[in-house]
């Protein structure tokens, strides 16, 4: 298991390098030149030149990539050392805007707010994480039982209804569902507040930026209730698609398990229906379900872009949306990189968790 884990971690390196190259080249996909794209149409040419200079866009592509990965300070120091080694007389480099490279955790700065992307990320990531976890929770506690019941009562009214709704669920644009839910629950019924994570009149000391956790730590019951009221509708909306997929997946996996010989044996030896379904079938049907739960992380992260923009949820999804509007390319670049990284790591964890759940799988 340990050897397999290490091998998989090593195999991840080329993928991550590839991801970084794609994210790096992203800026070079911009038609014309990122510097001109960032400016308004009638901006003076010197300004574009200065941006180009500042972003290092006038250097060769491979140098730009090295700077992106290692930082301009490292690259400049290395260039200086190399020149000295070759016996050239050069001035030591002066770095005006130090950038440390993504390998050292520096994602650069936002063009709009001038904040470092990492510090913004620390604030916004908890919001998205909280929303995604709540969505996954909703999806699992409704989707999995719905799938189990559908499989046991195959072709019954419950089965047809829940399968119909799960098909509708995957066919719906979630931002549309979000808007409809917002209109119904916030505008018409006034049951829940509209947008953001917390009411303006609620005081909460931010410890971790996970509001539910913060309100628990500080024992702030009022804030906990308010945060939950803000969370519930966005979480259900974001959870709809995973819920539908989970219900379908659990159903087909359960049906397959229920058709196995050992289920007939279990029935034959007189076990109760409950023991057969929960103890024998469900245990074996869970493996593909766990995979699906893991694979939904990618969906949750990109679905967050749409859900968060509807509900003004201050997470990374809304941040991507805002930076698209303001053409804040470093932010789009940085967040895309982080999301891809999370996605790759989660997929690895899902793979490794097979061995824990299913003793038949033994990684060499």
């Amino acid at each position: 298991m340990l050897r397999y884990t290490i091998r998989r971690l090593i195999a991840m390196i080329p993928t991550l390098i590839g991801v970084s190259v794609i994210v790096f080249l992203f800026v070079h996909l911009i038609p014309g030149d990122p510097a001109t794209a960032m400016l308004r149409e009638n901006a003076p040419a010197e300004l574009a030149e200065r941006i180009r200079e500042e972003l290092g866009l006038n250097k060769p592509l491979y140098v730009q990539y090295l700077v992106y990965m290692l930082g301009n300070d490292t690259v400049a120091q290395t260039e200086y050392a190399l020149a000295r080694l070759l016996g050239q007389v050069v001035e030591p480099p002066v770095i005006k805007n130090p950038y440390h490279g993504i390998l050292r955790g520096d994602l650069g700065r936002s063009l709009v707010t001038k904040d470092t992307i990492s510090s913004q990320l620390r604030q916004r990531f908890p919001a998205t994480f909280e929303l995604a976890m709540a969505a996954m929770l909703v999806a699992t506690i409704i989707g999995v039982p719905a799938g189990i019941v559908s499989a046991i009562r195959r072709n019954s009214l419950i089965d047809t209804t829940s399968m119909f709704f799960s098909l509708v669920g995957v066919s719906m644009p979630i931002y549309w569902l979000g808007m409809m839910a917002l209109m119904l629950f916030a505008v018409v019924l006034h049951w829940v507040p509209v947008g953001t994570r917390l009411g303006v009149d609620v005081n909460l000391r931010h410890v971790t930026n996970f509001y539910l956790l913060d309100s628990l730590i500080t024992g702030n019951v009022a804030a906990l209730g308010d945060a939950l009221r803000h969370l519930v509708v966005p979480a259900v909306v974001l959870g709809t698609v995973p819920m539908a997929i989970l219900a379908r997946m659990t159903r087909s996996s359960m049906l397959e398990a229920l058709n196995q010989d050992y289920i007939r044996t279990a029935h034959a030896k007189g076990l109760s229906e409950r023991a057969v379904v929960l103890g024998h079938a469900l245990k074996n049907a869970l493996l593909p379900v766990v995979t699906v739960i893991g694979l939904q992380v990618g969906f949750l992260l990109s679905g967050a872009i749409l859900t968060e923009s509807i509900f003004s949820w201050p997470g990374i999804g809304r941040w991507v949306y805002e930076s698209i509007i303001y053409r804040d390319y470093p932010v789009i670049q940085g967040v895309t990189l982080i999301i891809a990284l999370i996605f790759v790591v989660v997929n690895l964890i899902v793979d490794l968790s097979y061995a824990v759940i299913d003793p038949r799988i033994w990684y060499q």
Binding site: G18, F26, P173, M179, I324
Partner: protein, 306 residues
């Protein structure tokens, strides 16, 4: 002697009757029969046909110029007689715009899926057939693309290339390429080991001909199933990009862009501006999903003669 002859005739007659083959249905004929028997697939087919017919014929019989269409005296009117779906903030008839949206979604669905299907299948077939370094390099590259959530990658491509319908189609097509490459490759790997492939090689059939005349037709069914499901995804993602302001630009009657327009009027309770374009997206996507599911069941050889 006579007895023996009679016996042998009896045997052959019985052998014959015993072995008279039932009318042998081809894979496709068989699949078609089972597709027609599934009620889900029938509903899916009906929705798909309606959508395709609207998409093709509405622009012909009901020409529409979104640039000149506005009636400011009738802004945001709820549905009533004569305006089935109500009007939007420019006083435009939503019924007409939703119908015209079908053409745009149809184009996005077909073009982006064609791009992904053709490119992906060629990559997958070649990688699977040639194996070795080609396979490794191509599939590692596909893995890297799959390291991004699809919608995010599409958003990234369009954000960089600039908003618009063409870039939307390009982005949605590109992000789907790895899916087809993987399907085509795994089908190719299993077909490659078949005896008829060895036979073809023995009689001197060239590589390209073996790929396109033998491997491709035999790997088509999973690709077709995926193609149908991908049209659903493509329509959904194009609408999402349109909603984010990255896809088709106003005043184009694209469903996602129409939803983005209507979003502004959510708080004043103008539900019709949001409801109808959303339902249009949902129904169309549902149709392709139902059909794709039905096709998968119909083409699955394990389910044959059930």
């Amino acid at each position: 002697m006579v007895a023996l002859r009679e016996f042998s005739m009896a045997v052959s007659a019985e052998t014959l009757t015993g072995f008279v083959p039932r009318r042998q249905a081809s894979l496709w004929g068989d699949a078609w029969l089972r597709l027609r028997r599934s009620s889900n697939a029938r509903v899916g087919m009906a929705i798909m046909l309606t959508f395709v017919l609207i998409g093709i014929f509405i622009p012909l019989v009901m020409p529409y110029n979104p640039r000149t269409d506005s009636d400011l005296l009738n802004r945001l009117k709820p549905p009533a007689q004569g305006r089935l779906f109500g009007t939007d903030d420019q006083g435009r008839d939503l019924f007409r715009r939703v119908l015209h949206g079908a053409n745009i979604s149809l184009r996005v669905g077909l073009l982006s899926v064609t791009l992904a299907l053709v490119t992906g299948s060629i990559i997958g077939l070649t990688a699977g057939f040639l194996g070795g370094l080609t396979d490794n390099v191509a599939m590692r590259f596909m893995d890297i693309m799959l390291a991004f959530p699809a919608t995010l990658l599409a958003i990234g491509i369009v954000a960089a290339r600039g908003p618009g319908l063409n870039n939307t189609m390009l982005a949605i097509g590109v992000v789907q390429i790895p899916v087809y490459a993987r399907i085509a490759r795994s089908a190719t790997l299993s077909i490659k080991e078949q005896d008829y492939m060895l036979a073809a090689r023995c009689i001197g059939v060239g590589t390209l001909r073996r790929i396109f005349r033998h491997v491709l037709p035999n790997s088509l069914s999973p690709i077709i199933v995926q193609g149908t499901l991908s049209i659903a995804t493509a329509i959904l993602e194009a609408a999402a990009l349109g909603f984010l302001g990255l896809g088709a630009q106003p005043p184009t009657p694209e469903w996602g862009a129409m939803l983005a327009d209507g979003y502004k009027y959510l708080t004043i309770g103008a539900w019709w501006v949001l409801l109808f374009p959303g339902v249009a997206i949902m129904l169309t996507v549902l149709g392709f999903n139902l059909l794709g599911d039905g096709l998968r069941d119909a083409l699955d050889p394990r389910l044959r003669h059930d």
